[in-house]
Subunit: 161 residues, 6 copies
């Protein structure tokens, strides 16, 4: 009960659903690390630095939250940082299955680290980073489904592409 | 972050899956109330007192855990006890849906109280109180799937019935 | 394309989720029958007349909607009324499966009658008649999750019980 | 590999979906026992003898199939009969979860006995004993969804009730 | 209630399941647009023109159906064409989740446009464009699972590849 | 009932979950072919020969099991080898749907060949070839979740990459 929890993700980009989970999690845990996974094998839309910037700007003023990134296994990052709890948001059924399998694999790799799940609020349960990017690509309105800093970045990205 | 969490359930009877969640939850929260729901409309196999006894005996020596019971809405009990977190175990998909709906209804009834979910360990994910009672009814071996105190009670119950 | 659709259900009682589907359906179909199923084998909380009354009061002023009840097979009622479309709301996954099976059975019984599904709005997807009754039973606040006429009836029912 | 398999169920009553699985299973296993579960706690629509009669008549002439009934745990019956394989039909998702839990519990109770699953043919996947009884109760046409012997029995039952 | 509905999809290629939904939808809506989505980011097997040709030939003689294509957001196309209803076929559970999320996103983007779902007939529920292409690639027989015009095109495609 | 069953898969690489199913299947069927699917369109991590080698080494000494590979439709391979049964392991819900669709398509393509499903043991239900590769890529410990021969190969692969 060191009170340190990690909320990991690709955050490519951060959505209002993610922000909702972060606000709920800081009500429960004394300290929270929002951790951007930077797996070199994947091809994210936004670079590590861009993703960190959008998160920093969107969470400005939120206390007890640290923003970081990691490469490699999540459980190794958790050990390194001394965190005992991993927080994951559940939106939908398909999330559930993947999360279930990941949680069991992580438990096997690091038995002392526990995964807990929180429900995304009903306003956000249908939002995914992927959907947001598709809507933004066709100039659809994404205000409300992403933080303002992300909306601006998406607009700039589409103009540049 | 008062650190008080509630793990509610019918516990009719307590299974090894419940015990597993309790042990995981006390690693995360400083204080945990295991709370037996006593809804007069339902017809439990074991009385409130029997269920409390089995839990007390099965959790003997486990620190920072309190055992209690409640009637009425869970969120009212949580407010009364000053708890901010409800803990629920997820075993399977059908759990997920019911839990999802309950969590959202509870959030509506009491916005400041958060539900978190933990994964039952894979050894226990197929165990339910209902299955345990059916197996015990036909003299099937339930050692391992329920705590010892529950196993004895189930045997006595079947002899008496 | 006679434009007559039926929205069948137990409506024991009507919820805000049902009302949401009704409002969406009248935007699509010229005429809609809200049809209370009165299966004598089931034991509803509210009588056929009470359920019809709550629906009538809750839908007051809504045009092109008729309120009726039926006993027996839904497809026989549809044939009798000359309707070609059955409307069902989908809230969640478990709905989906039951609805899928019912739709196929109805298609077999009456090949000319089609079932269509509409998504309950995200504010209401976690509301069921059963949950509403449980919350109301313990004096939980159900305003917003049921129409006002139903809320009053539930309060009266609990006082009388 | 003694080649003896058991296909257990309530068969209250036998449907065309069950018959489909039986025909598929006898193509795979040299000998098959269709086993009616007679759990005294449940309240079947048809008596053990009626259910056995309907099965006998519906499977008349099918070779290598034996019809039997059992009380108690399925795995105990399997051991008694010397069967190593339990056959279950999967229709839908909700079947899947229950079956998954039962299969794991049975594996725990009797590690040497294996459960295998077969897919009900697509013509029958929406048929359940429960649905069939509801349709028949309201004089709906159940020819094709149950064997002829069952259809007659259902008609007689409804007239008598 | 202008009676215009859109049935959008990739149709890469059209399957008998799609044709089934189209025939059901024209029984419900006075006018139906079958709309091929041409997202430049995806890499379809067949070009926009080839997909439109296969649809035209397969639906020849079907009245009140128009065939069109669109780029960009579906809801923008619907507004442009003055349609109020989007029709989607549901085959399976995984469809359900994606469709659920898309329907909610579309509702947010265009509140006046409603999505309705229809059940693919049980003969076709296991057919997807992807599966059809895989079977055809290995010279498996796809007659019955795609219209004849599509079958011919698939054969030509495999010979050419 | 020629007693020959096929257990097909990509096995890229073989996991302990696969090995579990193989051991269960040989208890039921007199002869089992473990068949590596070599679809030229996919880009496996390990070559056909590497996958066959890992399987051969991991199953060394297991009787009545043959190891083979095939290109093209599984049902064509089954006919060629004279097998009447296809064995598939079910781990999770998403497996279930894909498997359901494949089994129905295969039944259409080859009505005399039956698919049966077996439950992966609960220790292995969260293991997939994909997860194993990701964990191994970051030097996570995969002993226990893959056979020893696969673990060594994964280590060598990562060093070489």
């Amino acid at each position: 009960m060191n009170g340190l929890a990690i909320y990991p993700g690709s955050f490519d980009p951060l959505t209002s659903g993610h922000v909702d989970i972060i606000h709920r999690a800081v009500e429960i845990f004394p300290r929270l690390i929002v951790a951007v996974a930077t797996n070199v094998r994947k091809h994210p839309t936004f670079s590590e630095e861009e993703r960190l910037d959008m998160i920093r700007e969107s969470l400005k003023g939120l206390e007890r939250v640290e923003i970081d990134s990691f490469t490699g296994l999540l459980v190794d990052f958790a050990k390194e940082r001394g965190a005992k709890v991993l927080v994951r948001g559940l939106r939908a059924l398909s999330d559930f299955e993947n999360e279930f399998q990941m949680a069991h694999m992580n438990r096997r790799l690091a038995p002392g680290i526990e995964t807990i799940f929180m429900m995304t609020s009903q306003e956000h349960f249908y939002i995914s980073s992927q959907t947001v990017k598709e809507v933004a690509h066709f100039d659809g309105d994404v205000s409300g489904v992403v933080p303002d800093a992300v909306r601006k970045k998406l607009t700039a990205y589409n103009k540049g592409s």
